[in-house]
Symmetry: C2
Subunit: 118 residues, 2 copies
DNA sequence: TGAGAAATTCACCAAATGGTTAATTAACCG
DNA sequence: CGGTTAATTAACCATTTGGTGAATTTCTCA
């Protein structure tokens, strides 16, 4: 699992989010803490596979693990999503301001056209 | 793992963003269109490696390719980042509202405590 | 003390990823 | 036409990823 040079936090977070099973796990955890078997319930994969997904999420800081009796409950952690949000919004703002400037230019020169939206 | 069944759009986008080289390429493209060799400039990897990164970005819909003479300029595309932003904000809102509710509860019971940011 | 439940670790496998060099395609220019 | 530049494709390699089943750890409880 461990790479020689550990990847940066943002890369770990994006990589962790790049799997639908893991996103579904996070969605479930957004509603509250949960045990591993409970989390595994909706999926057609083995428990060890779930454990691996949880390790990926934990390494990305997206969840933390607790311990009570033989359960290791998982809890959603907020910080990494905040970083992702910041990164995404930064670049959205950058290209949106570029498009705005282009839009203004087009407005000045071709008041008819109002194209956007891919 | 599911190559025959192509992964969903959000997974493709997150996976594309999970590499620092690709994020740097996008950052560069946020300032305007660029050719491949120009994009490759800052990196210590070969041109074919850059081509592969561009394919990943294109498959995720994060860039589009043009064509003029022997150049294939790359352009940033906005739609997928909007989806990422929507997903992230949805879950941020979900757990933040949970934390808010917890905060209110704590307020009612321990008016001293005030929450802080990392 | 030991059966059973929760979860992890182990050993393995196939496919995907990220990189390389060498060869090839596509367009320009003289 | 031939040479040059831009970029891609091809073939290959090492590592990572996502999965499996079997064994093991850790805890509860009768």
């Amino acid at each position: 699992m461990q790479s020689t040079l550990s990847a940066d936090a943002l890369s770990l977070t994006f990589a962790a989010l790049a799997d639908p099973t893991r996103r579904a796990i996070l969605a479930r955890l957004a509603q509250g803490e949960s045990s591993v078997t409970e989390l595994a319930q909706p999926f057609a994969i083995s428990l060890p596979a779930i454990t691996k997904h949880l390790k990926v999420l934990q390494r990305a800081g997206l969840i933390s693990r607790g311990r009570q009796a033989q359960w290791r409950p998982c809890k959603l952690e907020t910080a990494p999503l905040r970083d992702v949000s910041a990164w995404v919004d930064l670049y959205r703002r950058q290209w949106e301001s570029r498009l705005d400037r282009l839009g203004e230019f087009l407005q000045e020169n071709h008041p008819q056209e109002s194209n956007n939206e891919g």
